[in-house]
Amino acid sequence: MVDKTLVKKIAELARLNIKESELELFASQLSGILEHIKSLEVVKVDGIKPMFYGCVDERPLALDEIELFDTKAITKTTPYIENQLFCVPSILEEEN
């Protein structure tokens, strides 16, 4: 059901580098899991509302207040920081 090409495609969508040697194993494991999940096909769900959330009672709205987080604390979580900014590779080419 899931072949190596599909695993490659899914990994690309998920932004995951997968080694060529892992493709076969993931293909067979994902196929096995999806085959098991197929049992849901027989369940009749016409007119049933989906349950996307776990809450089982009403939740009040939060107060409309702003609480600022300490920026310095957040930017200590990675070494790739300069002047309180996260460093990323350049996206636009420099014009000469």
Binding site: V2, V7, I10, A11, E12, L13, A14, R15, L16, N17, I18, E22, F26, Q29, L30, G32, I33, L34, H36, I37, S39, L40, V43, V45, I48, K49, P50, M51, F52, Y53, G54, C55, V56, D57, R59, P60, A62, L63, F69, D70, A73, I74, K76, T77, T78, Y80, F86, V88, P89, I91
Partner: protein
């Protein structure tokens, strides 16, 4: 300092501290000695010995009184998924190997307010994904009852630590049984609270509609004290309930036998008829007999859609996980791959290198079930079947007050036994995931041992926000079967 305090409950330890029979420093030393002695169990990722002893000596100087919280000066541990300010929160992943938490989780903050001493952070399955605690970047946790076997996952480090007397209590998280399964495999108690009862703020997110933090302990009173300390509304988690969380420990101190034993316990006979180990069936029947002897009525209940819960779970869980884990991009926190040539390869390289196999498998499964062509057939369908499972429980609760079921169809398996077959591993969760799917509370407790000497556990599943009831019933069982509770698994 004698090991005689090892089997003491929190109220007994609190009294000993007040009466100056022991000091908080001595108590901490006892646990650190044992942590060193049983290092090979691999139940801790971080240990904070120096700081804990300083904290304990300050508490000793201050003294202990009746007015103090029971947890004051008690050595406890946390699964390494809870933020603890200034300390590593690794989630047992290479991705977060060097991540230092910039703030406290609400659970952590409330435990600090109780002045418990957080002595370390426990090993776990990477990002809480697993049923055996073998999916940890820091190596597997061994079961203290038999070190060739798994501790159960994903809160396996917490379970092994509490079971072996390396921590008085611990906190885990339960997304599909991750508190209850390791509790059962190591012979202790574990609570999965109702969804929304305990704040998820500062707990690294896995599957947000299923995740609930929960306490683990060796006896019912300790479990209740741990739960009381953290339960209740939190303005930082909009999914927490504003219903007041009443003190379970105070409730348990009263004589509730009469009001409890006129209740009816539901037995889902059809759901658990296949594939359950015969020793577990025997232990279940013994527990049932005990419940009847105590005066409870029992009734057979139907949960016709529960057999689909595992399939629903393995769609909803990876779907939500793939979305939650998209934040690990190698930029703001976590592992960054050195060999990138552009932004895209920075993302894929960091994630490919930083995540372990099980995490990658679930991210891919989640990406697949949420993708445009398959969303309706998988995720949307699963969400509807989830409603049917919840309705099954609502119907069952018109006939009974709580439901009794085994935690797992088998006891702790051998290390490595199921590592090559993820589907076989997932089947460990079959009796636990319906609880998370339906957002219910469930308390796992020990009921005996199999013929190989491995612990067996049952669970009592309650109505939403009815933790008090399942605690009360478990306490009655504990009083009758004291030999199964409060066991230390290893010398």
């Amino acid at each position: 300092m004698s090991n005689s305090y090892l089997k003491s409950s929190i109220p007994e330890l609190a009294k000993a501290l007040r009466d100056k029979k022991i000091s908080a420093v001595e108590l901490c030393e006892l646990f650190f000695e044992r942590i060193k002695k049983h290092k090979d169990l691999n139940s801790y990722i971080s240990v904070f010995e120096k700081e804990s002893l300083i904290q304990a000596s300050l508490l000793d100087e201050e003294g202990f009184s009746e007015k103090d919280p029971l947890l004051k000066g008690i050595p406890i541990s946390l699964k390494d998924i809870f933020m603890l300010e200034g300390k590593k929160t690794t989630c047992a992943s290479k991705m977060l190997e060097n991540y230092i938490a910039p703030y406290d989780a609400t659970v952590t903050k409330r435990l600090k307010e109780q002045r418990a001493i957080i002595i370390g952070k426990n090993n776990m399955d990477e990002f809480a994904m697993g049923s055996s605690n073998e999916h940890s970047y820091f190596g597997p946790v061994k079961n203290p009852w038999d070190t060739t076997r798994v501790s159960g996952g994903s809160s396996g480090g917490s379970a092994a630590a509490v079971s072996a007397g390396l921590s008085q209590i611990s906190f885990g998280t339960d997304t599909g049984g991750s508190v209850r399964l390791p509790a059962s495999y190591t012979g202790i108690l574990g609570l999965k609270p109702t969804y929304g009862r305990v704040s998820r703020y500062g707990v690294v997110a896995f599957a947000s509609s299923l995740d609930q933090p929960g306490p683990m302990a060796r006896n019912v009173h300790d479990l209740a004290i741990a739960y009381d300390a953290v339960a209740g509304f939190d303005k930082y988690d909009s999914t927490t309930s504003s219903n007041r969380a009443e003190s379970i420990y105070e409730y348990l101190l009263k004589d509730n036998r009469k009001e409890l034993t006129h209740q009816t316990i539901g037995i889902p006979t059809a759901f658990m008829k296949d594939g359950v180990n015969k020793d577990i069936v025997k232990s279940f029947e013994e527990t049932l007999s005990l419940i009847k002897k105590l005066g409870f009525k029992t009734v057979d209940i139907e949960l016709p859609h529960a057999k689909y819960a595992l399939d629903v779970y393995y769609i909803v869980n990876p779907g939500e996980a793939s979305s939650n884990l998209s934040r690990f991009d190698g930029i703001r926190f976590g592992y960054r791959d050195k060999e990138y040539k552009d932004l895209g390869s920075l993302y894929s390289g960091s994630r490919g290198e930083g995540f372990g196999e099980e995490v990658k498998r679930r991210i891919m499964l989640g990406t697949f079930v949420l993708s445009a062509g398959y969303y309706e057939a998988y995720f949307a369908k699963a969400a509807k079947v989830r409603s049917l499972i919840k309705q099954d429980f609502e119907t069952a609760y018109t006939k009974c007050n709580a439901i009794l079921m085994p935690v797992s169809p088998f006891t702790a398996f051998k290390l490595g036994e199921k590592m090559d077959d993820p589907l076989a591993m997932y089947l460990s969760d079959i009796f636990m995931v319906p609880v998370n799917i339906a957002a219910l509370p469930s308390l796992a407790f020990p009921t005996g041992f199999d013929t190989g000497g491995l612990p067996i556990g049952m669970q009592l599943i309650g109505k939403p926000f009815d933790e008090k009831n399942i605690f009360g019933i478990t306490r009655l069982i504990e009083m009758e079967k004291q030999d199964c509770f409060n066991r230390i698994s290893i010398e």
